[in-house]
C-alpha cells in the first residue's frame, strides 16, 4: 500500500540576493517514515529547513518559489508559529532547555496544563494554577515512549548531553498534533550507545505515525534507520533512493560527485624525491567547534597539500594550532627541528605564515590602511620597515616611505583593487581583502604558508584569482602551501594531495584524482570500515 505523503515540496527555489541556493528541490516525506536528508555543508539543507519552518530569514530576503503541501493541503508557512500549529516540530542541534527547570517544566514550557482555583475564577484565567500532576503524567508518558527511565522532576542542569537530547525530543512528541519531526544532526554530540538508543527511539516514534526528517552526516545511521533518502548537493536534489536501493558508497558518491576542473594539469609525480618539511605528530588542538584529537601528518617540501573535511570535524584547528592561535599540544617538527607551540611569534620566526579563515575577525585591521595591514606583522616580528628616530637606536619609528613602496609593489603584484595604499581594508571587497591577508603573510617571506578557507565569501571570479595566486607562489617561489578548505572541488583543483579530517583525526590522504566515492566515504568517516569490506 502506498502511504500518503505528509509533506510534499515541489520545485522549491530560493535565492539570496541573486545567489541561487536552492535550484528546484522536490522532497516527499511519507507518513510514518524516516526520511534522511544528506549533503555536504552548504548543500542547502538548512535553507530548506528554514523554509519548512517559515523562518523570518526566508521572508525578509524575498521568499521562495515552489509549492508546499502539508498533510494533503497546500499551505503557506509564514512563521515558526505557523509551523508549530500545522504540527511540525524540530529537535535542535543546540539544546534549547532551561537548565534550572525540571524535566517536566521543560517539556511543558509554554504549554502548561492549568486548572482553575478560587482566585482565577474571579480574576480571570491568567491566574489559573498549574496542574502539576497532569503535567508530570504527560511528561512521564513522553519519556516512556522514548524508553527513558528517569525521574521527571529532576532539574535539567548537569545532566549528560544524551539525556538533554531526549528531553528535547520528548517535548516535541508531547505536542498532541505533531505530525512531522525534524532532527538536525541529532547524533553529533552523542556517544555511540546514546546514538543507538536515539535511533531506536526514532523508530518508536514513527511507529506512532509521526514522520521524521533526519539530517545527518553519518551514513551508517542513514542506512540503519532511513526508509528513504534524498541527497542534496550545491542546492540541487541529486538523488533519491529507498533504503533497499541504497548503499553507503552510492550515497557518498552522490554527496560529493561533481566534475573537477583541475587548474594544475599535472599531478606531481609520486616518485619525485621530496624531503619532509613539516612533520606533525599527535597534534591536539583545543579550538572550540573545530577540535583536533591527535593528528599525524607529514608535509613534503614544495607541495600544495589540501586539508578537507566537513565543518566541525577539526580541519580548521590544525593550522590554528600550529600557528599558536589556539591551545595545542603535540609535536611539530620543521626541517627536523621541534617547533614551539602556542606561540605565534615562534611560528613566524620559523618561517611559517598563516592566512586565517576568519578574515574580518583575525585576518585584518578593518579600520586601518592597506599598507599598515601588509607591513605590521613583519614590522613587529622581523624589525622590517623601521628606522631610528634622530639616529637614536631603540627609538624605532615606522618607516613610512619603505612601507609605502613595499605596499605599492604588493598591490601591483597581487592586483589588489583599491583606491590607494591608504584605503581602509573595511571598504575592500572580499577577494581584495583576502589578497591583503596574503600580502601580509608574504611579507614575512615564509617557507610554508597556511591558507584557511581562502575563497570563503568571495565571488567566483575572485576565487579563481586567489587560487591562481596560490599556484603561482607554489610554482615560482617553491613555497609549500597547506590549504584548508570546506570546498572539496577547490582542493581537488589545485592540491597535490588531500588529507581528509574526520572527528578530529586524520581519516586518510587521497589523490585529487581519486574517485568521488572515496572522498565521500572519507568525509563521512566511513572509509576505513568500508574499504575493509571491499577487500
Amino acid at each position: 500500500m502506498e502511504a500518503r505523503n505528509i509533506l510534499q515540496m515541489t520545485n522549491i527555489e530560493k535565492d539570496y540576493f541573486g545567489n541561487k541556493v536552492l535550484k528546484g528541490i522536490n522532497l516527499n516525506v511519507k507518513a510514518g517514515e524516516i526520511h534522511a536528508l544528506v549533503g555536504e555543508n552548504g548543500a542547502g539543507k538548512s535553507t530548506l529547513m528554514n523554509i519548512i519552518f517559515g523562518m523570518p530569514v526566508i521572508h525578509s530576503t524575498g521568499g521562495f518559489s515552489g509549492e508546499v503541501i502539508f498533510d494533503g493541503e497546500k499551505v503557506e508557512i509564514k512563521s515558526p508559529n505557523d509551523a508549530m500549529k500545522f504540527g511540525i516540530g524540530m529537535v535542535h542541534q543546540e539544546f534549547m532547555l532551561l537548565p534550572g527547570f525540571t524535566i517536566t517544566e521543560n517539556i511543558k514550557l509554554n504549554r502548561e496544563i492549568t486548572k482553575h482555583n478560587p482566585i482565577s475564577r474571579i480574576l480571570g484565567p491568567a491566574l489559573k494554577s498549574l496542574d502539576i500532576d497532569k503535567m508530570r503524567s504527560d511528561s512521564k508518558k513522553a519519556l516512556d515512549t522514548l524508553g527513558m527511565n528517569i525521574d521527571d522532576w529532576l532539574p535539567v542542569a548537569g545532566m549528560p548531553v544524551g539525556y538533554m537530547q531526549f528531553i528535547e525530543i520528548a517535548r516535541e512528541i508531547d505536542k498532541e498534533n505533531i505530525k512531522l519531526l525534524v532532527f538536525d544532526e541529532p547524533t553529533a554530540v552523542l556517544t555511540e550507545s546514546e546514538a543507538d538508543k536515539l535511533l531506536d527511539a526514532m523508530k518508536t516514534i514513527t511507529a506512532r505515525g509521526i514522520s521524521i526528517l533526519f539530517i545527518t552526516h553519518r551514513l551508517d545511521e542513514v542506512m540503519a534507520v532511513a526508509d528513504s533518502i534524498t541527497v542534496m548537493r550545491d542546492g540541487e536534489q541529486v538523488d533519491f533512493m529507498t533504503n533497499a536501493e541504497a548503499t553507503v558508497e552510492k550515497i557518498a558518491q552522490a554527496m560529493v560527485g561533481r566534475k573537477v576542473d583541475r587548474i594544475v594539469k599535472t599531478v606531481k609525480d609520486e616518485n619525485e624525491q621530496h624531503d619532509i618539511i613539516l612533520s606533525i605528530k599527535n597534534l591536539k588542538v583545543d579550538m572550540p567547534g573545530e577540535k583536533v584529537n591527535g593528528i599525524d601528518l607529514e608535509i613534503k617540501r614544495g607541495e600544495i597539500i589540501g586539508i578537507g573535511g566537513l565543518a566541525g570535524q577539526g580541519k580548521i584547528g590544525i593550522a590554528n594550532g600550529i600557528m599558536g592561535l589556539h591551545n595545542a599540544i603535540g609535536e611539530v617538527y620543521k626541517n627536523g627541528e621541534l617547533l614551539e607551540l602556542n606561540n605565534p611569534k615562534k611560528a613566524y620566526e620559523r618561517k611559517l605564515a598563516f592566512v586565517s579563515e576568519d578574515r574580518r575577525g583575525v585576518g585584518l585591521l578593518l579600520d586601518t590602511s592597506i599598507e599598515t595591514n601588509i607591513a605590521i606583522t613583519s614590522m613587529q616580528l622581523q624589525g622590517k620597515f623601521l628606522k631610528p628616530l634622530l639616529g637614536i637606536k631603540g627609538l624605532e619609528m615606522k618607516d613610512e616611505k619603505g612601507i609605502r613602496q613595499w605596499a605599492l609593489g604588493m598591490i601591483k603584484d597581487l592586483d589588489i583593487r583599491c583606491v590607494g595604499p591608504t584605503q581602509f581594508t573595511r571598504r575592500l571587497s572580499g577577494g581584495n581583502q583576502q589578497k591583503v591577508c596574503i600580502a601580509r603573510a608574504l611579507t614575512m617571506e615564509p617557507d610554508i604558508l597556511f591558507v584557511s578557507e581562502p575563497t570563503r565569501g568571495i565571488d567566483i571570479g575572485a576565487k579563481k584569482l586567489v587560487l591562481d595566486l596560490l599556484i603561482k607562489l607554489n610554482k615560482e617561489f617553491g613555497m609549500t602551501i597547506i590549504m584548508t578548505s570546506s570546498e572539496l572541488g577547490e582542493l581537488r583543483s589545485i592540491c597535490d594531495r588531500i588529507a581528509i579530517v574526520y572527528g578530529g583525526k586524520l581519516e586518510g590522504i587521497l589523490d585529487p584524482t581519486d574517485s568521488d566515492v572515496n572522498f565521500g566515504l572519507m568525509m563521512a568517516g566511513e572509509y576505513s570500515a568500508h574499504k575493509k569490506e571491499v577487500i
Partner: protein, 347 residues
C-alpha cells in the same frame, strides 16, 4: 539643508556639531551683551592649556583598547603627591615644577602598571572598573593626605594641625609658571603661551609615539586583539603600556592644571576630574574605540571655550543662578552618555 546636516553629523559626529552650534550662539550673545571679548579669549586659552594634557591622557588608553580612562584619578593622585613632595623639598619656580613632574613620572609608572594589571583581569569591563577604582583611590588618598608625614607649614593645617590642607596655595611656589612663560600681550590681556607650548609639545610626543613600533603594536592590540595576538603581539603588555602612559600623562596633566589654577586641590576635588577630560575628547570626535591627537585638540578647545564663555553670558542672562554650572554638568555627562551608547553599536 537636511543633507548638509546629515553630512556634517556623519563627518564630525553629533556631539561636535551640536556643541559648535551652541558655542557660536554663545559667542554671538556674548558680543551682544558687550562682554569683554579679549578677556574671554584669554580665559579660554588658559583653560585649554590647563586641561589639555589631561585630555591627551585619554589617547593611549583608548588606543590600547582599554577604552576611556575613567580611572585617570590614579594618575592625578600621583601628580598631586609629586606636587606636594616638591613643596616639601622647599623648591620654587621652574625648578619646583620640573622636579614635581620628574617625581610624578616614576610614581605614575608604578601605579599605572598595577592599574594595567587589574584592567587585564577585567577585560570588557574596564570602564566600569576604572570608574570605581578612581572613586576608591580618591577616598583612600583622603586618608593618605592626613597620614603622610609632610612637615612644610605651607601645606599642613594651621595651628599645630596634622595632615595636609584641602587646598594648598602655590603662589610662592610654581603658580602660573607655565602660563607666564613667554606670555604674549593681546589687547589688554596676556596670553598663556608657555602652557600652550607645553601642551603642543606633549601632543607632538604623543603623535610621534603613535608612529613608533610600539605605537603601531598598541594600535593593533586595541583595534583587534585577535589580529594582534595572531601577529605575535603581546596584547596584555600593550594594554599595560597604554595604561601606564595614560597614568603618567594624568600626573603631568594635574601639575599643569595646578600651576595654572594656583592651588593643589586635595581630598575630594579630583573625584570627577576624569569626566571632564573624557567629555572633552568625546566632543572632539573620539569614541571609546578610536582617538586621534586632532580629537584631543579640537575637543579641548570646544569644551573649555564653551565652559569659559557660558559662565559670564548665562550669569548675565539669569543672575543669581548657577545655570552655567548646570550647563557644564549637562554637557559633560550628556556627551559621555551619548558616547557610551555608541560603544560597539556601529559595526
Amino acid at each position: 539643508m537636511k543633507s548638509l546636516w546629515k553630512k556634517l553629523i556623519e563627518k564630525y559626529g553629533f556631539p561636535k556639531v551640536s556643541i559648535v552650534i551652541f558655542l557660536i550662539a554663545l559667542c554671538m550673545t556674548a558680543v551682544m551683551q558687550n562682554q569683554h571679548m579679549p578677556g574671554l579669549f584669554k580665559d579660554s586659552l588658559v583653560r585649554i592649556g590647563m586641561n589639555g594634557i589631561l585630555v591627551l591622557a585619554m589617547v593611549p588608553s583608548i588606543m590600547s583598547g582599554t577604552g576611556l580612562n575613567f580611572g585617570l584619578s590614579l594618575g592625578i593622585m600621583a601628580g598631586l603627591l609629586a606636587g606636594c613632595i616638591s613643596i616639601e623639598l622647599d623648591l620654587t619656580g621652574m625648578t619646583a615644577f620640573a622636579v614635581a613632574v620628574l617625581i610624578s613620572i616614576p610614581i605614575s609608572i608604578v601605579v599605572g602598571w598595577l592599574y594595567g594589571w587589574l584592567l587585564n583581569r577585567v577585560k570588557g569591563d574596564e570602564m566600569t572598573v576604572g570608574t570605581y577604582l578612581g572613586f576608591s583611590i580618591v577616598s583612600f588618598m583622603s586618608i593618605g593626605w592626613l597620614l603622610i608625614p609632610f612637615k612644610s607649614p605651607e601645606m599642613i593645617w594651621a595651628i599645630g594641625g596634622k595632615g595636609l590642607r584641602t587646598t594648598i596655595a602655590l603662589t610662592d611656589r610654581y603658580a602660573k609658571i607655565l602660563d607666564e612663560f613667554m606670555a604674549m600681550p593681546f589687547f589688554d590681556v596676556m596670553l598663556p603661551t608657555g602652557a600652550l607650548l607645553f601642551f603642543a609639545l606633549c601632543c607632538y610626543l604623543m603623535w610621534l609615539f603613535t608612529r613608533s613600533k610600539t605605537g603601531v603594536a598598541m594600535m593593533a592590540a586595541g583595534d583587534n586583539p585577535k589580529f594582534a595576538s595572531s601577529c605575535g603581539i603581546n596584547v596584555d603588555r600593550q594594554r599595560t603600556i597604554g595604561t601606564i602612559i595614560s597614568t603618567v600623562l594624568g600626573g603631568i596633566g594635574i601639575l599643569v592644571y595646578a600651576q595654572s589654577f594656583g592651588f593643589l586641590q586635595l581630598y575630594q576635588a579630583p573625584l570627577m576630574m576624569p569626566f571632564g577630560a573624557i567629555a572633552a575628547i568625546l566632543i572632539g570626535g573620539a569614541t571609546a574605540k578610536s582617538a586621534k591627537i586632532s580629537h584631543v585638540i579640537s575637543g579641548t578647545i570646544l569644551f573649555q571655550a564653551l565652559l569659559t564663555i557660558s559662565l559670564p553670558v548665562i550669569n548675565q542672562m539669569m543672575p543669581e543662578s548657577n545655570l552655567s554650572e548646570i550647563v557644564r554638568i549637562i554637557v559633560s555627562n550628556g556627551v559621555i552618555l551619548y558616547a557610551l551608547t555608541k560603544v560597539g553599536g556601529n559595526d
